[in-house]
Subunit: 277 residues, 6 copies
Amino acid sequence: MIKNQLVREIVINALNEDIGKGDMTTENIFTEHHNSRGQIVGKEKGIIAGLDVAKLVFSMVNPGVKLIGKFTEGEEVQDPPKLLAEVEGPTVGLLQAERVALNFLQRLSGIATQTRKYVDRVKDYPVKITDTRKTTPGLRILEKHAVAVGGGVNHRFGLYDTPMIKDNHIKASGSIKNAVEKIRKTVPFTVKIEVEVNNLSQVEEALIEKVDIIMLDNMTLEEMKEAVKIINKRALVEASGGITLGNIKEVAATGVDYISVGALTHHLRALDISLNV
Amino acid sequence: MIKNQLVREIVINALNEDIGKGDMTTENIFTEHHNSRGQIVGKEKGIIAGLDVAKLVFSMVNPGVKLIGKFTEGEEVQDPPKLLAEVEGPTVGLLQAERVALNFLQRLSGIATQTRKYVDRVKDYPVKITDTRKTTPGLRILEKHAVAVGGGVNHRFGLYDTPMIKDNHIKASGSIKNAVEKIRKTVPFTVKIEVEVNNLSQVEEALIEKVDIIMLDNMTLEEMKEAVKIINKRALVEASGGITLGNIKEVAATGVDYISVGALTHHLRALDISLNV
Amino acid sequence: MIKNQLVREIVINALNEDIGKGDMTTENIFTEHHNSRGQIVGKEKGIIAGLDVAKLVFSMVNPGVKLIGKFTEGEEVQDPPKLLAEVEGPTVGLLQAERVALNFLQRLSGIATQTRKYVDRVKDYPVKITDTRKTTPGLRILEKHAVAVGGGVNHRFGLYDTPMIKDNHIKASGSIKNAVEKIRKTVPFTVKIEVEVNNLSQVEEALIEKVDIIMLDNMTLEEMKEAVKIINKRALVEASGGITLGNIKEVAATGVDYISVGALTHHLRALDISLNV
Amino acid sequence: MIKNQLVREIVINALNEDIGKGDMTTENIFTEHHNSRGQIVGKEKGIIAGLDVAKLVFSMVNPGVKLIGKFTEGEEVQDPPKLLAEVEGPTVGLLQAERVALNFLQRLSGIATQTRKYVDRVKDYPVKITDTRKTTPGLRILEKHAVAVGGGVNHRFGLYDTPMIKDNHIKASGSIKNAVEKIRKTVPFTVKIEVEVNNLSQVEEALIEKVDIIMLDNMTLEEMKEAVKIINKRALVEASGGITLGNIKEVAATGVDYISVGALTHHLRALDISLNV
Amino acid sequence: MIKNQLVREIVINALNEDIGKGDMTTENIFTEHHNSRGQIVGKEKGIIAGLDVAKLVFSMVNPGVKLIGKFTEGEEVQDPPKLLAEVEGPTVGLLQAERVALNFLQRLSGIATQTRKYVDRVKDYPVKITDTRKTTPGLRILEKHAVAVGGGVNHRFGLYDTPMIKDNHIKASGSIKNAVEKIRKTVPFTVKIEVEVNNLSQVEEALIEKVDIIMLDNMTLEEMKEAVKIINKRALVEASGGITLGNIKEVAATGVDYISVGALTHHLRALDISLNV
Amino acid sequence: MIKNQLVREIVINALNEDIGKGDMTTENIFTEHHNSRGQIVGKEKGIIAGLDVAKLVFSMVNPGVKLIGKFTEGEEVQDPPKLLAEVEGPTVGLLQAERVALNFLQRLSGIATQTRKYVDRVKDYPVKITDTRKTTPGLRILEKHAVAVGGGVNHRFGLYDTPMIKDNHIKASGSIKNAVEKIRKTVPFTVKIEVEVNNLSQVEEALIEKVDIIMLDNMTLEEMKEAVKIINKRALVEASGGITLGNIKEVAATGVDYISVGALTHHLRALDISLNV
């Protein structure tokens, strides 16, 4: 995933933002022949994500700067500090890439770490933790990757790949039936259709239309249990709305298949990782 | 600031990420002539930042979607919920822009709100809170704007606009003197030069070179006080390293001019803001 | 669909290709104040697709050039010639956009027309005609649109939105079971999984894995009938391989849900449409 | 031709279209160290064009994927099937590039094959077959290359490189003389000027202005013969309009120098070529 | 010419270069509602070129800033100072665009002015002054426009639009004949072919091949006269090499059709033009 | 400096401009396996700048074309002709890159040479020569580099990196004091603030605000001397306006720290440099 054109553009963009027309300090101190090596160190407990992105950052500043990973994607730092990777190569490139590489690595590891907490909390249930579209503008592909690394499973990537019928769409169409029919007529038959419902009668309506996923929006635990029973495996069931580490276990106990958690990506605590040169 | 080409590119980028080849739901439910209006509501206490960006998001999806601000940039939500803005126009555009607009608005308001906490904590001192390069890749210009909206003052935008001489540069050059001389020879005379120092003898060296800013890196409170005394207004003084809401007041009391806080932008708690259509 | 950023880029690209650094003829003959009007005429029988793209072409060369459609997307030209649209505005822009607008309109109408032939041929069956990835590089979004306009239903847009497990993937994984498991672990739960099978025993394997779509690749009519019976609505069934207008009716009679036809987009006969100024 | 920046952009564009944010199937089945080899096979008679583009597609997905051509550009598949090229390298890259590479190769070979038919039909005359601007938006440079590979000679690439004075320009200027004079005043002296004429008196007018090329638009065979006689080598003569494989020989017999055929590029029958891995 | 996509990109590029992430001065002093007006004044004698580019610069910074031309493209400032144009609109936009607009206007007027000097010097001869590829990287389209405005006629725009056979090509091919044949086989029949010759025997060879333009490279005046006589209107004749205002009249007297002058664009004296707000 | 992304974009842009869809001559004469070598020769006295850019041009056309520098950036050609560099590699690439490489090299060396003249003229004074924003649109980063190579020191790169308070800003704000305060509130504390003053009382005002740089705009020599005395090292002093090689020595004698000279970049005399293959 990490090597495609879109990720390269994100990285170029980030490097242009930080280096722009040139680094006023390092380029004037070190010759291009000066080499250095450094250690990337995980300084607190957490799940590591983004090592490939960091590697790409170094190599895009200067192909001569190599990152040799000592951790793998998704591995856990348990007794910090831990050596995550070594970097070596021309000093100018290494120092110019440092901040951008760490910015990616710390953020993605922060997301993976946070995801793991939610995943662990419900580990006794067959439920999966999933993400939302509440991601940082421009970084969704990477943040969804970090969620997956942390043990979550991704929801749709954008408006373009999965129709999700919400309140407004139902109202405008007159019924779930009408909305689903309109959608079915135009979208590829290869996509799943999801409907967001607020009550049990909408659950019934959605089932009649044979939608693939039913999202229970801000329902009570009781309602969710009832909905799961009604649906009875005829559609995937997703719980959504107001879910926290505090209440997620109870939601899992209702029998839903997926729980979506906006906080995975819109509350961020960057993991403490540094580079010593 | 908010209207320039770079901000437009950030927004286009974010919209392409979310909408891509088209919205499978809304475009198939509403005709292009269907209009709606909605309210953007602040649901928790905090400082609002990013209304202009949100406005741009709506207008770039469809110039017919208008955002009328009811709050101004930097205004505080005190008794939530509060109406922050109204949006109206073609429903398709309005709903397609919703998530991206909120993603910007919630994040930037989160940063402004967090900055304000640090600013308030040291309000009895003449010190200023400043940011770092630990920003989200691709969004630095907006995040620095949010810091300013929250009452902070910006540090350099990137490696390209202000030389900052650190440990590695000093070692490689042999001395602060050598490093500063190399830099002075090549950078525009219009830029300030900053040196990061670890001890008081380096402070003295830096002063001899008449650098503009001296950054005290991870010094003790005692050392900082002493440094401020030695410098005696001959350079701006910045404290950096390990600063939290818990210890910032004591740092402020040392008399430094600026305190840089990485957490302003690398720990994020998006402010709770929603759009009701 | 037609108005998003991706379509705009396709059009800009096409205009740059044809106009480049400037039109050596028209720009030197007409002043910018000279206006003209013209008629876009359908000169042979067929289904019209791409009027919105043509409109965009004219307006992007010069916002003053208006296209007023007299036909709607998907409407059929029955007794040619028929007036499809009128254009009017500054002559320079009108003439510069002409060829590019027609190139889009003729090609897309050609695809819609061809699709309609396949759709009509199987109109007595509940089967749907679907497209493939054998589209013109760079124009897939428009060509898929034309297929839909012609009465087809779209298959996946690219490698990125629907996993399709083929021969090579099955061999490398050891079994359909292994391949599906690997895929399920990593892709969003919102996507459907399709497996391409060559024989009935693979059909059984795929059903055990509860895949969403089973593609019958180059099977005989007998095999297809048998497969449909085995599958028995537990998955969508797609027939693929060597399908022509000559044999499609027999394939439809096997009871499959979808028939994919590469020729919809890789054999093109542009519809005869011209602009008279 | 095939290696320049513009072709690279066309290929990047096509790859982004198909692979986008990542291939959901292959990337999750094969490790990056898994290698494969495959054969590109021509399965019907025709002229091969686009092998260099296909090679570029593979190498841009992954520089480790090599295409070794067994056919040269313009060579004819006479007794299908024939091995056109071998590809080998990392399986992920190879499979991801497959469809896009074939899409280019099949289309360009289809154009070369069709061009060859027209060229062969008039092989007893000194006339040349030439193309038009009725090309696929975004692919003109490649399609014109395929025409040349098939034995045709290219006409202008766009509005920017050769002035062609048509009906509307003559009317607006008052006369061919006026139009030519306006054009001559502004275009580089290094370009040829072409005039489209509808009758013999316009031929005379064009000759007086010493234009370089005279295009006989939709003239009868008699008129064309007469025009050729009048022109008498004082300008190049191009026949245009309504030319098919059925009537092209008679047009060639009139003595014109060039015959332009829109169908070379706006009617496409992709050549049957496949990749076996 | 001035309004196409390529010119827009040049202007966007120039504005990004100067304004980047925002204007630190003007944006912080003036509100967006503050308006101003200013006069663009020609302060020395010369030919004005680039007013449309300047207009585009202002309108691209802010569509509300209008430039009303008082001079036309190619008009001469005879008794400076002269009012060239008025600008009015939002002050922020006006001041931000000022320097970039003047940078274009001064340079292009400088080129037009210089071209006019060469044109005037040979006004008693039927010869034309033409430019070369010695233009500023990135600005060729505008600089060639300025040459035309100054009374020159453009030579080819780049390597892509006119084949020019030079020394190295002749040597590698074995003869002018071979080189021309190779070229003829591949380039569009719509382009002219130019050959650069060093002596009279090469002139004869080129004539046999019926090339369109013969460039006399660094020949003596005697040789040029002789070449013109030999060629006798069978090809256009261009003189090139070492031509200055001092010797151009003598070159014109040899009877050549075109004289190319590198100094038109590689020696630049920006015309003195300023904006008073 | 020379290797970053921005410079690469400038070079790509220049190559696209010249080569576009392909070189009609060289690509049709030489096979891709034909190699050549050539000498880049300085044919007149001057300072060499831009060798790295030339190297980049060759390698971007074809990585196989190597430039081996025989001169270093900033070295002087004293007894022309001098060998500046050797190039070798595939002939097609070498010849296609030639003109663009020379266009950069000649222009940048011209600027460095001109800068050196100004620098030499004031070599007996401690003053520095600095540049302005009167640079070629799109090439500022390279032209500023050439100024530095010639011995000058760079002024700000754009509106985005240093606030410069001019006449209009002061008027609109009411006073220098107000303008500086507005600016200070919003710009990073890491930037210097410059004020342009027209008289001595403004000098006093600026000093009170502790601005970093005071620009004396079009003052008489007497006024400048007086200003320098008043300022007395409390700010950097820059002289600007109407400075020529004729009067610069007298300006230097006033004691100012910097003299800005627009002519460094807006009057250009490309240095005579050629490539012999």
